[in-house]
Symmetry: C2
Subunit: 420 residues, 2 copies
């Protein structure tokens, strides 16, 4: 049958039959679906990774945007190179150096449409079906989804309060190789880990790089959050510790300026950046020129550094509110790491709780979170949830935690689960 | 060997060995390479599809950008839905209706990072390796590249001064099916064709849709240029003529507002848009929120319509300069269609000329174009070139054509080619 009736009197093409095999079974990102589900409703969202809008430097950006368009409009409104606008790329490299990230002479930077696109382009560029990627367990869900789409297998390394348990890494890799898997890549959010907020000490970082060298693995250091370390913990970026060009460094202006600009970037060996550039030519040609000029001026005028400082202070206060609220409200048997930085906390609830199933109850109560199993490559984490603490004002954050705790209590009661 | 020496004393990973099979042999888009080649040099570029910067509504956009950030910054600087910001998507639909594009009740719009991303996401969503795509010959090079990356085969239908020779379409499809190919899709720039500037009359459009219906093909109507029709030629969008939900309509704000915003969009059956949305979740999460708000206000305040009118007038003048200059300077035996709209002209030079080989000579003389073979799926077009007439001021445009003609003359002389 060529056409079917769509029920409103018009014969339409059978779209399902036209979809490519690779997208026919695509599933929605649960976070994006939750955002859609809660759109327009009075739901306290602890789900997304949204910056608190109070840290957006609105006045500065309004002034900069207007000036950039008036004075540099011929360039800022025009097409621009796939790699990114040159002075912006140079400013990004200087900015990174100022934050202790080593930029090698054979490194290059490519600007991406958010760091999501950097992850996507990297996957497109280096993953063959059957390649094995070593990830933290739990890890960032959107990276898992992209890697999975490109046919990767996963090896999960558990974390503790110091991030990936690197002492298990080599054993995990050996087991994988014995099973016939092909480890290619370690993906890590080593600093202010998503979703737990823990920070990997330098000892472990060095060991991770030694193992990567021994097994010739690339390392993706996904680093959106290292600007927001709340406690007195020192660390050195993996990119800086690396001497072999193995580390691919990803970050973004979404958390330190404004996500609405959609500006991420990748710093890596020039040859890899060149291949990513060719992929990006096909995907979206280049990222917003206007956003790049705005961010360039925001770096130059110190607006980015000011925003980082303001956000760090605001998020630290919220982190403390979160931890207090978790202690006050969550049922016995709940566990979490104290987030040392970043935007998230990951809470393990008593066994028997299915946070995916419980989500609708939470939304009905007026609060949203991300169910934990999205952060695991192996389907575990059913009893966990990720809670964001950067977006809501402190009083709403406290109320959100209270509502989640009430939801958990109701859910446990309805299922006959006893607190341990 | 795990690492190799990069010649500057540092042992680095062998990147080539790490690239995925699908990207290892990626070639650069010749247009992007030309832009890179000419960066910073005093070269008159007739290569890209750049709007003339004199049509950018700089004052309006400066004012709107500043206002949007000040008044709506909490939203305009924040993350936004993958489909696009709702009021902007609604404004796009209203805008399309006002231009005679039919929007069905089961249609939806998704905002993309330029219409390049719309093409990419569509390819990702509907092309399986071995699917056959019917294209005009010549056709838009970047679409060819993306379709090729996804493993498509091509059937080329030649054009004349009325666009695709639709009377050949059914025969071409039958031949393809007999050869065991699987036609799935017709890709057409029916209005102000890229690269020739011709416009397909409604008769042919209706016949194209009949054939598409008979063979159950989807149709991509790629429509960035229909706002710039210079002569008194009427046409109806394929999307409007379609009654079966076969036509996927793509367009962009790059030519009618500013490319630097990176805003394209796709209008199609909701089910297809939904799958494209899931693909976009992985690729870049969403397009610039700030750009979307700016474009929203530019539509509402009439800035877009004003820009269209100004650009149409400016480009018509330049088109006339182009045609006069071609007549004046190009060697005997050169041929082209008079562009009825859009930004481009496609010039066939005397046989024996290889415009790819000749390009470096042209750049040395101070002018750039795009070699013709990029616009063909079958490697033909060696003696052709695409010339853009929207970007340069009229006097520079005339000089550019003169320099190209001089290059052609020198090249012919050096190769012993006689003008016919």
């Amino acid at each position: 049958m060529l056409v079917s009736n769509n029920g409103i009197g018009r014969a339409v093409v059978d779209i399902t039959g036209k979809l490519s095999r690779s997208t026919r079974n695509l599933k929605a990102s649960e976070v994006r679906e939750i955002l859609a589900l809660t759109e327009g409703k009075r739901v306290l969202s602890l789900a997304g990774g949204l910056p608190g809008p109070e840290v957006f430097p609105k006045d500065d950006l309004a002034r900069i945007a207007s000036r950039v368009i008036e004075e540099l409009g011929d360039s800022a409104l025009q097409y621009s190179p796939t790699l990114g606008v040159r002075p912006f790329r140079e400013a990004v490299m200087d900015f990174l150096r100022s934050k202790g990230v080593k930029v090698e002479s054979d490194d290059d930077v490519i600007v991406t449409t958010g760091s999501q696109e950097a992850i996507y382009l990297l996957a497109m560029t280096i993953i063959n079906p059957g390649d094995t990627i070593i990830v933290e367990s739990p890890t960032y869900l959107a990276a898992l989804n992209v890697f999975r789409y490109y046919g990767a297998d996963f090896v999960s390394v558990p974390i503790d309060e110091n991030g990936m348990r690197v002492e298990l890494l080599e054993q995990k890799i050996r087991e994988a190789i014995q099973k016939g898997l092909k480890p290619k890549l370690i993906y890590t959010v080593a600093t202010c880990h998503n979703p737990t907020g823990v920070i990997m000490p330098n000892e472990r970082r060095k060991e991770l790089l030694e193992v990567a060298s021994k097994y010739d693995l690339l390392v993706i250091e996904d680093d959106p959050y290292s600007f927001f370390v709340f406690d007195d913990i020192s660390f050195t970026h993996l990119k800086t510790l690396d001497s072999e060009g193995r580390v691919i460094y990803l970050s973004t202006f979404s958390k330190i300026l404004a996500p609405g600009l959609r500006l991420g970037y990748m710093l890596a060996n020039r040859q890899l950046v060149r291949t990513v550039e060719l992929a990006k030519q096909m995907v979206d040609l280049h990222s917003s020129t206007l956003s790049q000029y705005i961010a360039l001026y925001a770096i130059r005028e110190g607006v980015v550094d000011k925003t980082i400082q303001r956000a760090r202070e605001a998020y630290k206060v919220k982190r403390d509110v979160l931890v207090e609220s978790l202690k006050e409200y969550m049922p016995k048997g709940s566990q979490w790491y104290k987030p040392r930085g970043g935007l998230f906390s990951f809470v393990y609830l008593p066994n028997g709780i299915d946070t995916s199933e419980m989500l609708q109850m939470a939304i009905d109560k007026g609060v949203a979170y991300v169910p934990g199993k999205n952060f695991f490559s192996d389907g575990s984490g059913t009893n966990a949830m990720r809670i964001n603490f950067s977006y809501l004002p402190a009083d709403k954050l406290r109320l959100g935690i209270k509502l989640i705790a009430e939801t958990v209590m109701s859910y446990m009661k309805s299922k006959g689960i006893m607190a341990s």
